[in-house]
């Protein structure tokens, strides 16, 4: 079941991670909590999907990572958007809105 959801949400997940990081750097758990927050609890991203996505996006050059200290003073790996990541967020947002609009339109007409 989990696997299926990842497949379905592959594109969406990237977009959500990018969006979550717009407001500033976050560690993995932070990204996951932030996504929960901005989607009002609709998407709960499991680590099994989150970490592969983070690493892939870093390899793509959209994110950069560094080790820092968390609010409760634990060492944690933080992710931050790069310029390329910001550009990617722009194009993916536009793309998504186009799709969303089309889908909404399609579902309304019957």
């Amino acid at each position: 079941m989990g696997e299926k959801q990842t497949n379905l949400l592959q594109g969406t997940l990237d977009l959500l991670i990018l969006k979550a990081l717009v407001t500033g750097e976050l560690h993995g758990l932070g990204v996951s909590r932030r996504i929960e927050q901005i989607t009002r609890g609709t998407f709960i991203v499991k680590p099994g999907s989150l970490f592969p996505a983070l690493h892939r996006m870093e390899e793509n050059g959209w994110l950069t990572s560094f080790w820092g200290e968390s609010e409760n003073r634990r060492r944690a790996k933080y992710y931050r958007l790069t310029r390329a990541g910001e550009r990617q967020l722009g194009t993916e947002t536009a793309e998504w809105q186009k799709i969303a609009l089309a889908m909404t339109h399609a579902l309304k007409t019957s």
Binding site: H27, K46, F51, R56, E58, S70
Partner: protein, 891 residues
């Protein structure tokens, strides 16, 4: 972006420890952070940690998921799979070897044989406007093949309207005087328009100009590419150079490009214009000129035949030879491929059959193995392997098998082709040009590899789609699904059927070969040595070759130790025919009704020939050199077939006289042109394929000295030896050198080899079919064995239960054998049906005599069924040895 990917790739590969440590830290930090959250929500530290780990499904699993996503990981996983695949190969070597050997054999055989077929049947001949080139198969009124005489050819060429070129040619051999001694070459003597038929331009220089086949202008030669390379070092300056052929001076005018040959099997040839003897020039009854032609554009072969027939009719008004003559314009491809095309087509079917059997076998083996591994795969997927990953692993394994098998196939194809090329050169017209056909090799490889991968993929997909818990739970019942079972049964039946069809065909061919070999030749071929003598024209023209060469040679050869007797004949018994007189008439019997002709074979022999072949005299006497000389009465010895055809029953042939117009031309100085029959001998086969022809033997001693070179310039030396004929060759070569150093010893062969060479194609065909059939049977047996073992293995538990419930071992065994019996029965029935369906094709190659072959077919079917039962014996024994308690405890 590619830049960052590349950087990541680099990091993942070359700074792996750092990357791994980083990942390790990150996962640990995540677990701590998440656990902190849970503690904050009120959980105990240990519970929080456990819950978090359960949530991510284990730290190791999470790390693997990240690794899978990384750049540059696929080569690593492929390498892993490869290692695993190779380990699988070494772990079950029997299975692996079977699969790979099956692949190698199927690919190798299919490719090698197809390459031969392509070279011989499919590849176009190297001539321009091929469809317009025809060979003229002219036939006499009695229907026998009859070439043209020179005067006839001149008339046909002048009077016909359908051809842009009507050319004539004659093949012989010639000695080229090279620095190191005489080199034996093939010679094609042709008319001036010979090269215009083919439209192939010379590589260097020019070809014959019109009129260059006239005496005085015809001492010119065009070299084939091979001769140019081998004997002239490929020098461009060769054009214009003078060479000596058979002692005569010729000027090289051109060199043909590589690949141009006519006749197509003529390697090492030189092309010279016609050099006609006085007899050839004017004798209308001396039929020796083979004719080929190029049709005018738009003229069909049919129209050309009608045109020539009209010419024959017109000439036939005052010429017995052309009356009733017919012509068949055979297109060049048919003419070259000839008799063997049907046999080759049958062979092609056999090749495809073997390929199909091979693929079916590999598929069956892999499928049943996939079934065996169901549990392993279920376990993997339970442990978290993703579906794609499992499929990729199984496919990689299959690729390992396929790759090794394919490599073996390539090696096999090369090896087989080498062997076949050796065997083929002598017997097949285009054999010299056979080379490995790369597209076909690729196609065969692709077919086999695809089948392998699909066969591996099918169970992989099916299994990875079922839920692991189900597969694990169903335990021993795995793989017993009905569909699987039926598929594998179908495979076995197919294999048995195809194997039987191949067996029957090869059995029939073997029977035919046996019959041909057992043909009553009329002589014992053991202890006989033969060699060709081809006297150089320049040296011997006009001389008495009997006194100057043959007699001294025979005297010396007879004196060699180990020689029982030696003789001469112009055509070897068993290996050639067609040198005949068209108009044979016996004085005192019904005159022939013109234009019907009655041919009889003509042989020129020395007395020693009879001793060598141990001809049995039926009545009268043999020709005797002390009585029959060039000045005495012309005599001849005939065979029993001659007596049967020409002498009315009840009359004594000895003392009768033959009117033989064709030969009296050769013997003009005889006071009486009628030949007196002095003796009758038993029949010797002139050719293995036909019953004996009527034959008249003339004595070479009775040929007038001046005519000897024309009549017997080419002869066969035949020797009966006391011991091994081969061992005589060096001494014989020396003897030739002593008599005349310019005459090479050509082609020394034992008579057994000569006979075997005649049958080369049959032997090759047989050998191939035998190999195919053996391979097919082997594969079918292996397939059956695999299937039954599989069955037994999978149903061990069921057998255990049945035994525990009171079934006897006999019922278990009989159940298995009944199943095999059914499969064999259906396979054999289908196989026979297939054979019957292909009967027409088979019949065109080997006559299927129902009554003679029924026993053979039945025996083969029975043998195959028995082999099947034997293959079952081993797994069946294992089944009957199942211990109920153990079988039930397992799992």
């Amino acid at each position: 972006m590619p830049g960052s990917r590349l950087k990541a790739f680099w990091r993942n590969w070359f700074r792996k420890p750092a990357v791994e440590a980083d990942l390790d830290d990150e996962v640990r930090s995540y677990v701590e952070l998440a656990a902190d959250e849970r503690i904050a929500a009120g959980a105990s530290p240990s519970d929080a940690r456990r819950a978090t780990l359960a949530d991510i499904g284990g730290a190791e699993r999470l790390k693997q998921q990240v690794r899978d996503e990384r750049a540059g990981t696929w080569p690593e996983t492929v390498a892993q799979d490869l290692r695993f695949g190779i380990r699988q190969v070494t772990q079950s070597p029997g299975f692996a070897l079977t699969v790979m050997a099956t692949l190698a054999l199927s690919i190798g055989i299919a490719t090698a044989v197809f390459s031969v077929l392509y070279a011989m049947v499919i590849r176009p001949l190297p001539y321009r406007d091929l469809p317009r080139i025809v060979a003229l198969d002219t036939r006499s009124a009695s229907g026998g093949s009859q070439a043209a005489s020179w005067p006839e050819y001149v008339d046909w060429r002048r009077m016909s309207r359908s051809f842009t070129a009507l050319a004539g040619l004659m093949q012989s051999t010639v000695g080229l005087e090279a620095g190191s001694g005489p080199v034996a070459l093939h010679e094609v003597q042709a008319t001036d328009n010979f090269f215009s038929v083919f439209g192939v331009n010379p590589l260097l220089g020019r070809t014959f100009a019109p009129g260059e086949d006239q005496a005085g202008r015809n001492d010119i030669v065009v070299l084939s590419y091979e001769v140019w390379q081998q004997d002239f070092g490929g020098r461009k300056s060769v054009v214009g150079q003078a060479v000596r052929l058979d002692g005569n001076r010729y000027t090289v005018i051109g060199v043909m490009p590589a690949g141009f040959r006519f006749p197509i099997n003529m390697l090492n040839a030189v092309y010279v214009p016609m050099h006609l003897t006085a007899n050839q020039m004017k004798n209308r009854g001396n039929h020796w000129l083979q004719t080929i032609a190029k049709l005018k554009p738009g003229v069909t072969p049919r129209q050309a035949e009608e045109d020539l027939d009209a010419v024959f009719t017109q000439l036939g008004k005052n010429d017995a030879f052309n009356a009733g003559r017919t012509v068949h314009a055979v297109d060049m491809t048919t003419w070259v491929v000839g008799d063997t095309s049907n046999a080759l087509r049958l062979l092609l079917c056999a090749v495809l059959t073997v390929l199909v059997i091979g693929c079916v076998n590999v598929a069956g083996l892999l499928l049943s193995r996939g079934v065996k591994r169901e549990r392993e795969i279920a376990l993997r997927s339970a442990l978290g392997a993703r579906r794609g990953r499992i499929v990729r692993q199984l496919v990689t394994e299959a690729v390992v098998f396929a790759a090794i098998g394919a490599a073996g196939g390539v090696v096999m194809a090369y090896g087989l082709l080498r062997v076949m090329r050796l065997l083929l050169i002598a017997s097949l017209s285009r054999g010299a040009e056979v080379s490995l056909n790369v597209p076909v090799l690729v196609a065969a490889l692709a077919a086999a590899v695809t089948v392998t991968i699909i066969a591996a993929l099918v169970p992989a997909l099916r299994l990875s789609a079922t839920s692991p818990t189900m597969a694990l739970k169903s335990g021993g019942a795995a793989g017993t699904s009905r569909g699987q079972h039926r598929l594998r049964t179908g495979f076995v039946v197919t294999q048995v059927a195809l194997a039987l069809a191949l067996l029957v065909v090869s059995g029939l061919l073997l029977q035919m070969l046996q019959r041909l070999r057992d043909t009553q030749l009329g002589f014992q071929p053991d202890h006989l040595l033969t060699a060709e003598i081809d006297l150089p024209h320049g040296r011997y023209a006009g001389r008495d070759v009997l006194a100057d060469f043959y007699q001294p040679l025979l005297d010396r050869v007879s004196a060699l130790p180990g020689v029982r007797s030696a003789g001469l004949i112009q055509m070897l018994p068993g290996a050639g025919w067609g040198w005949n007189s068209e108009h044979v008439h016996i004085y005192g019997t019904e005159p022939l009704k013109s234009p019907r002709t009655d041919p009889a074979e003509v042989r020129f022999v020395s007395p020693g020939y009879y001793k060598v072949f141990q001809d049995a005299l039926v009545e009268g006497r043999l020709a005797d050199p002390r009585i029959d000389k060039s000045t005495t009465r012309l005599v001849c010895v005939v065979n029993e077939a001659f007596v049967k055809k020409f002498i009315p029953a009840g009359r004594d042939p000895v003392g009768m006289e033959i009117g033989d117009n064709d030969q009296t031309d050769t013997m003009p100085s005889q006071p009486n042109p009628r030949a007196l029959i002095v003796g009758v001998v038993k029949d010797l086969r002139q050719t293995i394929y036909r019953p004996p022809f009527p034959e008249m033997d003339y004595m070479i001693a009775q040929i007038p000295a001046a005519q000897t070179m024309d009549a017997i310039g080419d002869m066969k030396l035949v020797i009966r030896t006391a011991g091994d004929p081969e061992s005589l060759v060096p001494a014989l070569r020396q003897t030739f050198g002593q008599v005349d150093a310019t005459v090479p010893l050509r082609d020394p062969q034992t008579m057994n080899t000569v006979i075997a060479d005649v049958l080369t194609f049959q032997r090759l065909e047989n050998w191939l079919f035998g190999a195919f059939a053996a391979l097919a049977v082997l594969l079918a047996v292996v397939g059956l064995y695999g299937l039954i073992s599989q069955d037994v293995e999978l149903s061990e538990r069921e057998i255990g239960i049945r035994l525990a419930l009171g079934a006897t071992r006999r019922t278990i065994l009989s159940g298995i054998f009944r199943r095999v019996g059914w499969m064999m029965g259906i396979g054999v029935a289908i196989g026979l049906a297939v054979t019957l369906a292909a009967e027409r094709l088979i019949n065109s190659v080997v006559a299927v005599h129902a009554e003679q072959s029924a026993g053979l077919v039945a025996a083969l079917a029975l043998g195959l069924a028995l082999a099947g039962l034997v293959a079952t014996a081993l797994p069946a024994r294992r089944a009957s040895a199942v211990q109920p308690m153990e079988a039930l405890r397992e799992e």
